[in-house]
Subunit: 211 residues, 2 copies
Protein backbone atom coordinates (compact mmCIF):
# COMPACT_ATOMS: atom_id res chain seq x y z
CA UNK A 1 0.00 0.00 0.00
CA UNK A 2 1.48 3.36 -0.91
CA UNK A 3 1.69 5.92 1.81
CA UNK A 4 0.97 8.85 -0.40
CA UNK A 5 -0.63 9.53 -3.76
CA UNK A 6 2.67 10.40 -5.44
CA UNK A 7 3.67 6.72 -5.53
CA UNK A 8 2.64 6.60 -9.16
CA UNK A 9 6.09 7.72 -10.24
CA UNK A 10 7.29 4.22 -9.36
CA UNK A 11 5.16 2.75 -12.15
CA UNK A 12 5.95 4.75 -15.24
CA UNK A 13 5.16 1.94 -17.67
CA UNK A 14 1.55 1.75 -16.57
CA UNK A 15 1.22 5.35 -17.70
CA UNK A 16 1.86 4.31 -21.27
CA UNK A 17 -1.28 2.22 -21.60
CA UNK A 18 -3.74 3.83 -23.97
CA UNK A 19 -7.12 3.63 -22.29
CA UNK A 20 -9.41 3.69 -25.28
CA UNK A 21 -13.00 3.08 -24.41
CA UNK A 22 -14.97 1.21 -27.06
CA UNK A 23 -18.51 1.63 -25.82
CA UNK A 24 -20.92 -0.53 -27.76
CA UNK A 25 -24.07 1.46 -28.44
CA UNK A 26 -27.71 0.45 -28.14
CA UNK A 27 -27.99 0.86 -31.92
CA UNK A 28 -25.11 -1.55 -32.54
CA UNK A 29 -26.55 -4.14 -30.17
CA UNK A 30 -29.95 -3.85 -31.83
CA UNK A 31 -28.50 -3.89 -35.33
CA UNK A 32 -27.10 -7.43 -35.19
CA UNK A 33 -30.55 -8.57 -34.08
CA UNK A 34 -32.30 -7.04 -37.09
CA UNK A 35 -35.14 -5.62 -35.07
CA UNK A 36 -36.25 -2.50 -33.26
CA UNK A 37 -36.18 -3.14 -29.50
CA UNK A 38 -39.27 -2.31 -27.49
CA UNK A 39 -41.34 -3.21 -24.44
CA UNK A 40 -44.63 -5.00 -25.06
CA UNK A 41 -46.32 -4.13 -21.79
CA UNK A 42 -49.32 -6.43 -21.31
CA UNK A 43 -51.80 -5.12 -18.76
CA UNK A 44 -55.15 -6.49 -17.63
CA UNK A 45 -56.96 -8.26 -14.84
CA UNK A 46 -55.74 -11.46 -13.26
CA UNK A 47 -56.90 -14.27 -15.55
CA UNK A 48 -57.34 -11.95 -18.54
CA UNK A 49 -54.83 -13.90 -20.60
CA UNK A 50 -51.78 -11.58 -20.43
CA UNK A 51 -49.22 -14.33 -19.83
CA UNK A 52 -50.77 -16.76 -22.26
CA UNK A 53 -50.93 -14.23 -25.09
CA UNK A 54 -47.43 -12.93 -24.27
CA UNK A 55 -46.07 -16.47 -24.42
CA UNK A 56 -47.77 -17.07 -27.76
CA UNK A 57 -46.35 -13.81 -29.13
CA UNK A 58 -42.87 -14.73 -27.89
CA UNK A 59 -43.06 -18.17 -29.54
CA UNK A 60 -44.16 -16.60 -32.82
CA UNK A 61 -41.33 -14.06 -32.67
CA UNK A 62 -38.82 -16.82 -31.95
CA UNK A 63 -40.06 -18.65 -35.06
CA UNK A 64 -39.13 -15.47 -36.95
CA UNK A 65 -35.67 -15.55 -35.30
CA UNK A 66 -36.44 -12.44 -33.31
CA UNK A 67 -34.68 -11.83 -30.00
CA UNK A 68 -37.09 -11.62 -27.11
CA UNK A 69 -37.40 -11.96 -23.38
CA UNK A 70 -40.48 -12.33 -21.21
CA UNK A 71 -40.60 -10.85 -17.72
CA UNK A 72 -43.38 -12.19 -15.55
CA UNK A 73 -44.12 -13.27 -12.03
CA UNK A 74 -42.21 -16.52 -12.52
CA UNK A 75 -38.81 -14.96 -13.10
CA UNK A 76 -39.23 -11.69 -11.20
CA UNK A 77 -41.04 -12.36 -7.94
CA UNK A 78 -38.72 -15.16 -6.83
CA UNK A 79 -35.55 -13.37 -7.90
CA UNK A 80 -35.05 -9.65 -8.36
CA UNK A 81 -38.16 -8.72 -6.38
CA UNK A 82 -37.89 -11.35 -3.71
CA UNK A 83 -38.53 -9.66 -0.39
CA UNK A 84 -41.11 -7.24 -1.76
CA UNK A 85 -44.61 -7.69 -0.45
CA UNK A 86 -47.96 -6.28 -1.49
CA UNK A 87 -48.05 -2.98 0.39
CA UNK A 88 -48.63 0.10 -1.78
CA UNK A 89 -44.98 1.04 -1.40
CA UNK A 90 -43.76 -2.42 -2.35
CA UNK A 91 -46.09 -2.62 -5.36
CA UNK A 92 -44.72 0.67 -6.66
CA UNK A 93 -41.15 -0.53 -6.11
CA UNK A 94 -42.00 -3.87 -7.76
CA UNK A 95 -43.10 -2.19 -10.99
CA UNK A 96 -40.34 0.40 -10.84
CA UNK A 97 -37.70 -2.36 -10.86
CA UNK A 98 -39.50 -4.24 -13.62
CA UNK A 99 -39.54 -1.05 -15.68
CA UNK A 100 -35.83 -0.46 -15.10
CA UNK A 101 -34.96 -4.04 -16.06
CA UNK A 102 -37.17 -3.83 -19.16
CA UNK A 103 -35.28 -0.67 -20.09
CA UNK A 104 -31.94 -2.51 -19.78
CA UNK A 105 -33.26 -5.23 -22.11
CA UNK A 106 -34.35 -2.60 -24.63
CA UNK A 107 -30.87 -1.10 -24.36
CA UNK A 108 -29.53 -4.59 -25.12
CA UNK A 109 -31.58 -4.68 -28.34
CA UNK A 110 -34.25 -7.11 -27.15
CA UNK A 111 -38.01 -7.11 -27.65
CA UNK A 112 -39.18 -7.43 -24.04
CA UNK A 113 -42.62 -8.73 -23.13
CA UNK A 114 -43.98 -8.13 -19.65
CA UNK A 115 -47.09 -9.65 -18.11
CA UNK A 116 -48.17 -7.95 -14.91
CA UNK A 117 -51.62 -6.72 -13.89
CA UNK A 118 -50.17 -3.19 -13.41
CA UNK A 119 -53.57 -1.73 -12.56
CA UNK A 120 -52.65 1.95 -12.19
CA UNK A 121 -52.26 4.41 -15.05
CA UNK A 122 -49.58 6.35 -13.20
CA UNK A 123 -47.29 3.35 -12.80
CA UNK A 124 -47.61 2.33 -16.45
CA UNK A 125 -46.98 5.94 -17.44
CA UNK A 126 -43.82 5.94 -15.34
CA UNK A 127 -42.44 2.98 -17.29
CA UNK A 128 -43.42 4.61 -20.60
CA UNK A 129 -41.40 7.66 -19.62
CA UNK A 130 -38.32 5.56 -18.81
CA UNK A 131 -37.73 4.68 -22.44
CA UNK A 132 -37.62 6.53 -25.74
CA UNK A 133 -40.62 7.45 -27.89
CA UNK A 134 -42.03 4.37 -29.59
CA UNK A 135 -40.26 1.90 -27.31
CA UNK A 136 -43.22 1.37 -24.98
CA UNK A 137 -46.17 -0.51 -26.45
CA UNK A 138 -49.10 -0.85 -24.09
CA UNK A 139 -51.14 -3.98 -24.77
CA UNK A 140 -54.49 -3.86 -23.01
CA UNK A 141 -55.88 -7.36 -22.57
CA UNK A 142 -59.46 -6.25 -22.09
CA UNK A 143 -61.21 -9.32 -20.77
CA UNK A 144 -64.36 -8.68 -18.70
CA UNK A 145 -64.09 -9.33 -14.99
CA UNK A 146 -66.84 -11.97 -15.22
CA UNK A 147 -64.81 -13.96 -17.70
CA UNK A 148 -61.59 -13.63 -15.69
CA UNK A 149 -63.42 -14.70 -12.57
CA UNK A 150 -64.96 -17.69 -14.30
CA UNK A 151 -61.52 -18.82 -15.45
CA UNK A 152 -59.85 -18.10 -12.08
CA UNK A 153 -56.79 -20.19 -13.04
CA UNK A 154 -55.06 -19.68 -9.68
CA UNK A 155 -58.18 -19.68 -7.50
CA UNK A 156 -57.44 -16.10 -6.48
CA UNK A 157 -60.87 -14.61 -7.22
CA UNK A 158 -62.45 -17.26 -5.05
CA UNK A 159 -60.11 -16.32 -2.21
CA UNK A 160 -60.70 -12.60 -2.77
CA UNK A 161 -64.49 -13.11 -2.68
CA UNK A 162 -64.11 -15.11 0.51
CA UNK A 163 -62.12 -12.25 2.02
CA UNK A 164 -58.99 -14.39 2.32
CA UNK A 165 -56.96 -11.94 0.24
CA UNK A 166 -57.51 -8.22 0.10
CA UNK A 167 -56.70 -5.38 -2.30
CA UNK A 168 -57.37 -7.75 -5.17
CA UNK A 169 -57.64 -5.94 -8.48
CA UNK A 170 -61.21 -5.91 -9.80
CA UNK A 171 -62.69 -6.99 -6.49
CA UNK A 172 -61.65 -4.54 -3.78
CA UNK A 173 -58.96 -2.62 -5.65
CA UNK A 174 -59.51 -0.70 -8.88
CA UNK A 175 -58.18 -1.51 -12.34
CA UNK A 176 -57.58 1.68 -14.31
CA UNK A 177 -58.04 0.72 -17.95
CA UNK A 178 -55.58 2.27 -20.41
CA UNK A 179 -57.08 5.23 -22.25
CA UNK A 180 -54.91 5.05 -25.35
CA UNK A 181 -53.24 1.64 -25.48
CA UNK A 182 -51.20 0.98 -28.60
CA UNK A 183 -52.91 -2.42 -28.84
CA UNK A 184 -56.36 -3.22 -27.49
CA UNK A 185 -57.29 -6.87 -27.35
CA UNK A 186 -61.03 -6.67 -26.84
CA UNK A 187 -62.64 -9.95 -27.49
CA UNK A 188 -62.30 -12.56 -24.79
CA UNK A 189 -63.69 -15.12 -27.21
CA UNK A 190 -60.73 -14.59 -29.54
CA UNK A 191 -58.55 -17.68 -29.85
CA UNK A 192 -55.06 -17.05 -28.44
CA UNK A 193 -53.57 -17.32 -31.92
CA UNK A 194 -55.71 -14.40 -33.13
CA UNK A 195 -54.90 -12.28 -30.10
CA UNK A 196 -51.21 -12.97 -30.68
CA UNK A 197 -51.63 -12.17 -34.38
CA UNK A 198 -53.05 -8.76 -33.46
CA UNK A 199 -49.85 -7.97 -31.54
CA UNK A 200 -47.61 -9.35 -34.29
CA UNK A 201 -49.46 -7.30 -36.94
CA UNK A 202 -48.80 -4.14 -34.96
CA UNK A 203 -45.09 -4.92 -34.65
CA UNK A 204 -44.89 -5.73 -38.34
CA UNK A 205 -46.73 -2.61 -39.52
CA UNK A 206 -44.80 -0.29 -37.23
CA UNK A 207 -41.47 -1.66 -38.44
CA UNK A 208 -40.25 -3.30 -35.22
CA UNK A 209 -39.42 -6.56 -36.98
CA UNK A 210 -37.12 -5.30 -39.71
CA UNK A 211 -34.84 -2.61 -38.40
CA UNK B 1 -69.25 -7.31 -11.65
CA UNK B 2 -70.63 -10.75 -10.86
CA UNK B 3 -72.02 -11.27 -7.42
CA UNK B 4 -70.84 -14.82 -7.09
CA UNK B 5 -68.24 -17.11 -8.61
CA UNK B 6 -70.80 -19.19 -10.50
CA UNK B 7 -71.30 -16.41 -13.05
CA UNK B 8 -69.02 -18.27 -15.44
CA UNK B 9 -71.99 -20.20 -16.82
CA UNK B 10 -73.05 -16.98 -18.55
CA UNK B 11 -69.90 -17.08 -20.69
CA UNK B 12 -69.80 -20.52 -22.18
CA UNK B 13 -67.91 -19.50 -25.31
CA UNK B 14 -64.90 -18.31 -23.33
CA UNK B 15 -64.63 -21.84 -21.99
CA UNK B 16 -63.84 -23.11 -25.46
CA UNK B 17 -60.57 -21.28 -25.78
CA UNK B 18 -57.66 -23.67 -25.78
CA UNK B 19 -55.08 -22.18 -23.45
CA UNK B 20 -51.91 -23.67 -24.81
CA UNK B 21 -48.81 -22.23 -23.24
CA UNK B 22 -45.82 -22.05 -25.57
CA UNK B 23 -43.02 -21.23 -23.16
CA UNK B 24 -39.87 -20.32 -25.02
CA UNK B 25 -36.93 -21.97 -23.27
CA UNK B 26 -33.54 -20.55 -22.37
CA UNK B 27 -31.99 -23.03 -24.82
CA UNK B 28 -34.19 -21.76 -27.65
CA UNK B 29 -33.38 -18.14 -26.90
CA UNK B 30 -29.66 -18.94 -26.79
CA UNK B 31 -29.78 -21.09 -29.91
CA UNK B 32 -30.72 -18.32 -32.33
CA UNK B 33 -27.78 -16.33 -30.96
CA UNK B 34 -25.27 -19.11 -31.70
CA UNK B 35 -23.49 -18.75 -28.39
CA UNK B 36 -23.46 -20.11 -24.87
CA UNK B 37 -24.76 -17.43 -22.49
CA UNK B 38 -22.69 -16.60 -19.44
CA UNK B 39 -21.72 -13.87 -16.99
CA UNK B 40 -18.23 -12.40 -17.32
CA UNK B 41 -17.91 -11.01 -13.81
CA UNK B 42 -15.02 -8.51 -13.73
CA UNK B 43 -13.77 -7.83 -10.22
CA UNK B 44 -10.89 -5.68 -9.02
CA UNK B 45 -9.98 -2.42 -7.34
CA UNK B 46 -11.29 0.95 -8.44
CA UNK B 47 -9.10 2.01 -11.34
CA UNK B 48 -7.91 -1.53 -12.06
CA UNK B 49 -9.29 -1.42 -15.57
CA UNK B 50 -12.45 -3.55 -15.18
CA UNK B 51 -14.72 -1.30 -17.21
CA UNK B 52 -12.13 -0.54 -19.87
CA UNK B 53 -11.30 -4.20 -20.44
CA UNK B 54 -14.99 -5.19 -20.32
CA UNK B 55 -15.80 -2.55 -22.94
CA UNK B 56 -12.97 -3.80 -25.17
CA UNK B 57 -14.21 -7.40 -24.79
CA UNK B 58 -17.76 -6.34 -25.63
CA UNK B 59 -16.62 -4.49 -28.74
CA UNK B 60 -14.61 -7.52 -29.90
CA UNK B 61 -17.60 -9.82 -29.31
CA UNK B 62 -19.87 -7.47 -31.24
CA UNK B 63 -17.41 -7.62 -34.16
CA UNK B 64 -17.99 -11.40 -34.06
CA UNK B 65 -21.77 -10.78 -34.10
CA UNK B 66 -22.12 -12.07 -30.57
CA UNK B 67 -24.97 -10.86 -28.39
CA UNK B 68 -23.76 -9.09 -25.28
CA UNK B 69 -24.73 -6.62 -22.62
CA UNK B 70 -22.60 -4.72 -20.14
CA UNK B 71 -23.88 -3.90 -16.67
CA UNK B 72 -21.90 -1.24 -14.87
CA UNK B 73 -22.32 1.75 -12.62
CA UNK B 74 -23.54 3.87 -15.51
CA UNK B 75 -26.68 1.89 -16.25
CA UNK B 76 -27.35 0.38 -12.80
CA UNK B 77 -26.72 3.00 -10.15
CA UNK B 78 -28.95 5.64 -11.76
CA UNK B 79 -31.73 3.22 -12.63
CA UNK B 80 -32.46 -0.12 -10.99
CA UNK B 81 -30.37 0.62 -7.91
CA UNK B 82 -31.25 4.26 -7.54
CA UNK B 83 -32.01 4.87 -3.89
CA UNK B 84 -29.42 2.42 -2.61
CA UNK B 85 -26.57 3.95 -0.68
CA UNK B 86 -23.26 2.60 0.54
CA UNK B 87 -24.20 1.01 3.85
CA UNK B 88 -23.26 -2.66 4.22
CA UNK B 89 -26.90 -3.63 3.76
CA UNK B 90 -27.29 -1.52 0.65
CA UNK B 91 -24.06 -2.80 -0.87
CA UNK B 92 -25.25 -6.38 -0.43
CA UNK B 93 -28.62 -5.51 -1.97
CA UNK B 94 -26.87 -3.65 -4.81
CA UNK B 95 -24.91 -6.73 -5.84
CA UNK B 96 -27.83 -9.07 -5.20
CA UNK B 97 -29.96 -7.16 -7.73
CA UNK B 98 -27.10 -7.01 -10.23
CA UNK B 99 -26.71 -10.78 -9.88
CA UNK B 100 -30.43 -11.34 -10.41
CA UNK B 101 -30.48 -9.10 -13.50
CA UNK B 102 -27.37 -10.81 -14.90
CA UNK B 103 -29.18 -14.12 -14.41
CA UNK B 104 -32.17 -12.83 -16.42
CA UNK B 105 -29.82 -11.83 -19.25
CA UNK B 106 -28.22 -15.29 -19.21
CA UNK B 107 -31.72 -16.74 -19.36
CA UNK B 108 -32.31 -14.51 -22.40
CA UNK B 109 -29.26 -16.06 -24.11
CA UNK B 110 -26.92 -13.10 -23.70
CA UNK B 111 -23.24 -12.95 -22.76
CA UNK B 112 -23.38 -10.46 -19.87
CA UNK B 113 -20.36 -8.49 -18.74
CA UNK B 114 -20.37 -6.81 -15.34
CA UNK B 115 -17.84 -4.34 -14.00
CA UNK B 116 -18.16 -3.74 -10.27
CA UNK B 117 -15.44 -3.75 -7.60
CA UNK B 118 -17.38 -6.50 -5.74
CA UNK B 119 -14.68 -6.80 -3.08
CA UNK B 120 -16.09 -9.66 -1.00
CA UNK B 121 -15.73 -13.35 -1.84
CA UNK B 122 -19.10 -14.18 -0.29
CA UNK B 123 -21.02 -11.77 -2.53
CA UNK B 124 -19.31 -13.02 -5.70
CA UNK B 125 -19.97 -16.59 -4.58
CA UNK B 126 -23.66 -15.74 -4.12
CA UNK B 127 -23.91 -14.62 -7.75
CA UNK B 128 -22.03 -17.73 -8.92
CA UNK B 129 -24.61 -19.88 -7.15
CA UNK B 130 -27.52 -18.07 -8.83
CA UNK B 131 -26.69 -19.52 -12.24
CA UNK B 132 -25.86 -22.92 -13.63
CA UNK B 133 -22.43 -24.55 -13.65
CA UNK B 134 -20.16 -22.88 -16.20
CA UNK B 135 -22.32 -19.78 -16.53
CA UNK B 136 -20.31 -17.65 -14.09
CA UNK B 137 -16.84 -16.64 -15.23
CA UNK B 138 -14.89 -14.66 -12.65
CA UNK B 139 -12.40 -12.29 -14.25
CA UNK B 140 -9.92 -10.98 -11.69
CA UNK B 141 -8.38 -7.72 -12.90
CA UNK B 142 -5.35 -7.94 -10.66
CA UNK B 143 -3.82 -4.49 -10.84
CA UNK B 144 -1.71 -3.44 -7.82
CA UNK B 145 -3.19 -0.81 -5.55
CA UNK B 146 -0.26 1.51 -6.29
CA UNK B 147 -1.04 1.46 -9.97
CA UNK B 148 -4.77 1.97 -9.44
CA UNK B 149 -4.05 4.84 -7.11
CA UNK B 150 -1.65 6.45 -9.56
CA UNK B 151 -4.32 6.30 -12.26
CA UNK B 152 -7.13 7.46 -9.95
CA UNK B 153 -9.41 8.23 -12.92
CA UNK B 154 -12.26 9.53 -10.79
CA UNK B 155 -10.12 11.17 -8.09
CA UNK B 156 -11.58 8.77 -5.52
CA UNK B 157 -8.31 7.57 -4.00
CA UNK B 158 -7.30 11.13 -3.38
CA UNK B 159 -10.58 11.74 -1.58
CA UNK B 160 -10.26 8.48 0.38
CA UNK B 161 -6.71 9.39 1.47
CA UNK B 162 -7.97 12.81 2.54
CA UNK B 163 -10.67 11.12 4.61
CA UNK B 164 -13.43 12.65 2.49
CA UNK B 165 -14.87 9.24 1.67
CA UNK B 166 -14.74 6.21 3.91
CA UNK B 167 -14.97 2.44 3.49
CA UNK B 168 -13.05 2.78 0.26
CA UNK B 169 -11.85 -0.57 -1.07
CA UNK B 170 -8.09 -0.92 -0.78
CA UNK B 171 -7.75 2.04 1.57
CA UNK B 172 -9.94 1.49 4.61
CA UNK B 173 -12.00 -1.45 3.40
CA UNK B 174 -10.57 -4.80 2.31
CA UNK B 175 -10.50 -6.32 -1.16
CA UNK B 176 -10.73 -10.10 -1.01
CA UNK B 177 -8.92 -11.37 -4.08
CA UNK B 178 -10.53 -14.32 -5.86
CA UNK B 179 -8.82 -17.61 -5.00
CA UNK B 180 -9.75 -19.48 -8.16
CA UNK B 181 -10.85 -16.99 -10.79
CA UNK B 182 -11.58 -18.50 -14.20
CA UNK B 183 -9.52 -15.68 -15.73
CA UNK B 184 -6.67 -13.87 -13.98
CA UNK B 185 -5.44 -10.70 -15.67
CA UNK B 186 -2.16 -10.13 -13.85
CA UNK B 187 -0.07 -7.67 -15.67
CA UNK B 188 -1.03 -4.05 -15.32
CA UNK B 189 1.43 -3.23 -18.08
CA UNK B 190 -0.59 -5.32 -20.52
CA UNK B 191 -2.17 -3.27 -23.29
CA UNK B 192 -5.95 -3.36 -23.11
CA UNK B 193 -6.11 -5.31 -26.35
CA UNK B 194 -4.04 -8.13 -24.84
CA UNK B 195 -6.08 -8.20 -21.64
CA UNK B 196 -9.23 -8.41 -23.76
CA UNK B 197 -7.65 -11.14 -25.90
CA UNK B 198 -7.05 -13.19 -22.75
CA UNK B 199 -10.78 -13.11 -22.00
CA UNK B 200 -11.74 -13.85 -25.61
CA UNK B 201 -9.34 -16.81 -25.75
CA UNK B 202 -11.00 -18.29 -22.68
CA UNK B 203 -14.48 -17.92 -24.20
CA UNK B 204 -13.27 -19.42 -27.48
CA UNK B 205 -11.50 -22.41 -25.91
CA UNK B 206 -14.37 -23.20 -23.56
CA UNK B 207 -16.90 -23.17 -26.38
CA UNK B 208 -18.95 -20.12 -25.39
CA UNK B 209 -18.74 -18.59 -28.85
CA UNK B 210 -20.07 -21.44 -30.94
CA UNK B 211 -22.96 -23.13 -29.23
Amino acid sequence: MPNNPTSNIQHPTSENIVWHDHHVSKAERAQIKQQKPCILWFTGLSGSGKSTIANAVEAALLAQKKHTYLLDGDNIRMGLNKGLGFSDEDRVENLRRIGEVAKLFVDAGIIVLTAFISPFRSERQRVRELVDEGEFIEVFVDTPLEVCESRDPKGLYKKARAGEISDFTGIDSPYEAPEFPEIHIRNDRLPIEEAAAQVLDHLEKKGYLNA
